[in-house]
């Protein structure tokens, strides 16, 4: 597998934002992950060839970041905020409700590949705690009883 025409078009569009190719590596990994959901070894090799970087250099960056995935993830990413504000407003009950609904714990993906459930540091939505995100959507405050209906909307 190599970079698709769409990926190349998007990558070529962001390159001018950076003075050289290797400086664009973080953004380039995001671009490819958005299309492929996670970064396989092949994806890093493709990007390495495009950016003039080794797979190891890219992997060093990818494994440091919390929002680049080096293992397959589900179609939707569910994040539960574990900041001290949300914690004091019912984080434990919310986490429990999501876990029960999905049948998987933090760091796991549902068997049908629909959801990956991850912890996240403060979502900057303390005034809406306890908060969670599904993909790009912020939800909060979320009562445990509302979790089912929220997740239902993501096929």
């Amino acid at each position: 597998m190599s970079l698709s025409a769409d990926e190349l078009r998007e990558l070529d569009a962001v390159l001018p934002h950076y003075p050289d190719r290797r400086a664009a590596a973080a953004t380039a990994m995001r671009v490819v992950q958005r299309r492929r959901r996670w970064l396989s070894d092949e994806a890093l090799a493709d990007l390495g060839a495009y950016l003039g970087m080794s797979v190891e250099e890219l992997d060093g960056l990818a494994t440091f970041a919390n929002m680049l995935f080096r293992r397959p993830v589900g179609r939707h990413i569910v994040l539960v905020c574990d900041s001290f504000a949300c914690w004091s407003l019912g984080y434990a009950e919310l986490r429990e409700a999501i876990q029960t609904q999905l049948g998987v714990g933090l760091g796991e993906t549902t068997a049908d590949g629909r959801f990956t459930f991850l912890p996240i540091v403060c979502l900057g939505a303390c005034d809406r705690g306890p908060a969670m995100m599904v993909d790009a959507d912020l939800h909060g405050p979320v009562a445990p009883s509302e979790v089912g209906a929220i997740l239902e909307a993501y096929a």
Binding site: A26, R30, A65, M67, S83, F84, S88, A92, G105, C126
Partner: protein
Amino acid sequence: MSPIDTTGWERPLTKAMRPDGQAAFLDDYVAAGGYEGLACALRELEPAAVTRVVSDSGLRGRGGAGYSTGRKWSTMPLGADAPRPKYVVCNGDEMEPGSFKDRFLLSRNPHLVLEGIMIAGFAVQADAGYVFLRAQYDYPLACVERAIAEAYERGYLGADIQGSGFSFDIYLHESIGRYICGEASAMLNALESRRPNPRARPPHMTGAGLYSRPTVVNNVETFAAVPSIVRNGADWWKNLSVTGEGGTKIYGVAGRVTRPGCVELPVGTSMRELIEVHAGGMQPDYELRAVSPGGASTAFVTAADIDVAMDFGSMQKAGSRLGTGTLVVLDDRTCPVGMTLNLLQFFAQESCGWCTPCREGLQWSLALLRDIEQGRGRPEDLDLLQEHIWMMGSDKTFCDLAPGAMQPLEAALRLFRDDFVRHIEEGRCPYAPDEAPDGAPYGAPYAPTEAAPAP
């Protein structure tokens, strides 16, 4: 208490915001006087004069450190011999727990932040600016992206802005994550796609920053303050505050209050006014016990300090820091040891691992705290924690992450000592229900989980 009468007070940071909560884009922004600060700078002022107005206003960094914005800008090299290109970086990482003001500004008033970046760019004669936002700010990212596109369309960005001869570009950069990216020098590494460890200083970033070029890094809210200062002058800004530090700022209240949220108020507004008037007081059946005044790295202050003014000097005198000015209340039914454990869990997880005291010390403090919260603590653990606070104090670590983590811990040991002792003596968390519904051991539902490995 009687609230301060704010009728007729100016609110330069929120003036252009729409009452319906939607983002104010270009037409709304211009209708509310937007881009007049930029026009004023380009038409009437020399770059150095812009920096002078900002210096005179007394504006201090809103990201938490409170460094003089004008002083920072004035160390950028100007003139024909200055190294090029020069950069302006807007820090919108906002990942410190308990900070939620930049999201508010970026998603309600994105052009204000952009205008501030442009004016900073003109003042230091920079070539380009980067807006660095965290990945989970999908909505703010979309707002800023649209605002940048609008600014290019109307000639506020690009070549020869408004016929002034000044050219400037702004690029949006979405972070790949981790709290340490919010540390200004680590942010520059992140922007260069290097591993985001903080950098050694000197050299200062204004001498050798992004790609080793002169770079000024400021917080979102700091940039948001700039347009009105340039438009209305330093004295106008100074007169906005209730105490001597000048200006307004975005304050916030979260926790068990009636109306959590963000509000623009004069600098120096008291915690009491924020909590009792603007946040509607505590929720029924909850009493205010303590406050985290401005993010996870600020020391708790107790309800006895509620009349302290929220400005840099007053908060420091009260034994804490203003930080981001978004406060999280600790109520009387929430375990202060559990809350401190949650904070330490965050800092230990987010240590970049570069220096030993932080990488190792935070893990040890976390283990001690977890033992205490879960009923396995020993009396000598409190002394051990105190020793960790010393070992991770200022100047003993590479950056401010670990010293920041020690501030709430130190305050918790000082202010909630009885709670720590009770946990140890009773061998359980006294705030936990006698038996958890699922039969879990004492305290278990109150403890943060272990961090799950990233996929």
